[in-house]
Symmetry: C2
Subunit: 387 residues, 2 copies
């Protein structure tokens, strides 16, 4: 992709900071800078909540990373993560008119990251965490949610979870199965795998078998990190042990958020009838769609734009934050995520659903309104809004 | 100024974050986001300096405050400082096409501020410190200069110093006095007063008497903070003691960066012939221009836009950063500040100089090129550029 390098170089990055106000006349300067600017300052000092009226805070999201898990590339550090974070920022603007700014943090120490984000929070109306490696990402998100009163959203977890949930909801309408009867296997127990597991439980999934690189996660394992130990309490009801192959046998749904090419045709052949396979390792999936199809899978999704059913976070994060900001939400809670998933699924009328069209394309203009409205309403219904 | 409140509310702040790249087609998304974005990430990981080629860093300045000294309003805290910082950001864009982003830090502890700025430095090509109270601002700037390899510039100090220095340079051409023969009195020993003192010494000023609210700063004083003790070594050569009134008597130049209305006509009358008075407390000066004139001052400047000779930082900071960023400077050093002051002064041809036109207006289009080129050249000449 020399072209991508060339284009990044030509534009010298992707974001620009522009003025929303005119600055042509002396009067403009006196209104928006000195002496007029003293008025909103004094007003915010007197009535802190008016910061949402007089500043850009209410539409401003920080896209924050430490560069520890950049795309599928691994730990590249803060500077090398900037192109991804700038990319997120321009997608926020393009798809939801959210102003987003990239912050790449030098340290990879969790406490340092938490403290840094807290210190810079005043100008932001929300925080989108990005490409922070598991299990650190769980603790960082948890602490920030507890300590800040603005929405905190780790997109690798919850963006993925929302889009996968919407894809499952629509797939079930095609294969005519119920969520509670499903046997679901999830391959990959990092940020995305854990979050997908949680949202599917909250959607009423039957049993879920979660696998990491060592195989099925069960109570008998002694090598689990705290996040895996915690999630283990609510999944794998028969306490199965074994390999990924064992986990896939008889499954209705296989969700891959792990590594390229680790699922074989033979494994897919052992799945239940009308198998649903989301192989989202990117750019190289757990199994290529044509092989999964040949092996009998009925519905197949990937993270790629060159195959049908692209299960991509961009379907969720811009509209989710649009709704949260519009509601002046104090958090993005489980109800808001579920509402987003259901609204995203409903963007395709049931009559139009088919095996290779279970999820809308990012360009679908109905997503923004549907998802943001649903998120806003859920925030209001759960009382998660600023008074 | 209800109008200022109304306009801030109408626009909900002043900054917007937009895309420099097109995002219309699937191809655009694949170049600027996944999978193409992986290429610049890998390239930066391999060659760290290429972050200037592939990201917005090279044109991005953080405008950072803790809200401890907002305008003349005092310690209003982080949130109430946002309107001023957003204002700086839009001025950066308007006057020098620099992309600037406001960061307001929750804590007012110097070490916490220093650490926070270091942690978020990777995305920024420069740091503009703003409205941080003295003497904390000196230590914060010093530490950041030592620990980061991008330009650090406390505008309340150095922006003010550059514009005052340019104004003095041009005033001396009118009154036909030499810098080295001047007796200069500076009223106010905060961030601006100390920095103005330093730049005038570097320009070869004769003797400078610096006053704070307790009177003349001399070696006999026992109540001085470290910054005042340090500056005391290079000023007040006869070790005078006394009041502001004593300090003004016989002075050629009076520079006020202190508080409203503390200078009287009587004091101005005791100044030397062809007195130069810059009364920059804002919006209410140390003495109103008409009173100073009546008392015999020949050249008068203020911080206000409704009087001649508005000595305003906006004449310096945008072009100074433009030059520093264009040079990929690693700092903004004394030579660069002096070069900026001289270039700014030279924006008015000597034949056009007069008592009420010693400094150009911010709208003068020659400032940007003249000052940024001078700063860039000084950075190169002093070796303060990235290799």
């Amino acid at each position: 992709m020399q072209e991508s390098l060339d284009m990044h170089k030509k534009h010298k990055g992707k974001i620009e900071i522009t003025s929303k106000v005119p600055l042509e006349t002396k009067k403009d300067l006196s209104l928006y800078y000195t002496p007029g600017v003293a008025q909103p300052c004094k007003e915010i000092h007197k009535t802190p909540s008016s910061v949402y009226d007089y500043t850009s805070k209410g539409n401003l999201v920080a896209v924050i990373s430490d560069g520890s898990a950049v795309l599928g590339l691994g730990n590249l550090g803060a500077s090398a993560a900037i192109p991804v974070m700038e990319g997120k920022c321009v997608l926020f603007k393009k798809f939801a008119d959210v102003d987003a700014f990239p912050i790449c943090i030098e340290s990879q120490d969790s406490d340092t990251i938490i403290n840094t984000v807290k210190q810079i929070a005043p100008v932001f109306g929300g925080i989108n965490l990005e490409d922070i490696s598991a299990p650190r990402c769980f603790e960082i998100e948890k602490q920030l949610k507890e300590q800040l009163d603005i929405p905190i959203f780790h997109d690798d977890q919850h963006g993925t979870a929302i889009v996968v949930a919407a894809s499952i909801i629509n797939s079930l309408k095609i294969v005519k199965k119920n969520m509670k009867d499903l046997k679901i296997t999830i391959c990959g127990a990092g940020a995305a795998g854990i979050a997908v597991t949680k949202i599917l439980i909250n959607l009423g999934a039957g049993d879920i078998i979660l696998c990491d690189s060592k195989g099925i996660i069960s109570k008998d394992r002694t090598d689990l990190n705290p996040a895996k130990i915690e999630i283990c309490k609510t999944i794998n009801k028969s306490n199965l042990s074994g390999s990924l192959k064992d986990a896939i046998e008889g499954a209705d749904v296989l969700i891959g958020v792990s590594a390229p090419s680790i699922v074989t045709e033979q494994m897919i052949k052992t799945m239940n009838k009308d198998a649903i396979v989301f192989a989202m390792s990117n750019p190289l999936p757990e199994i290529m769609p044509d092989l999964a199809k040949k092996a009998g899978a009925r519905i197949i999704g990937t993270g790629r734009s060159d195959y049908p059913n692209q299960i991509n976070n961009v379907l969720a994060f811009p509209a989710v934050f649009r709704g949260a900001l519009d509601a002046r939400a104090t958090e993005i809670n489980e109800d808001m995520k579920l509402a987003a998933a259901r609204a995203l699924a409903n963007c395709i009328p049931e009559t139009q659903l088919k095996e290779d069209y279970i999820i809308p394309s990012p360009q679908d203009p109905s997503i923004l309104t549907a998802v943001s409205e649903a998120v806003k309403k859920a925030a209001q219904n759960t009382g998660a809004v600023r008074r």
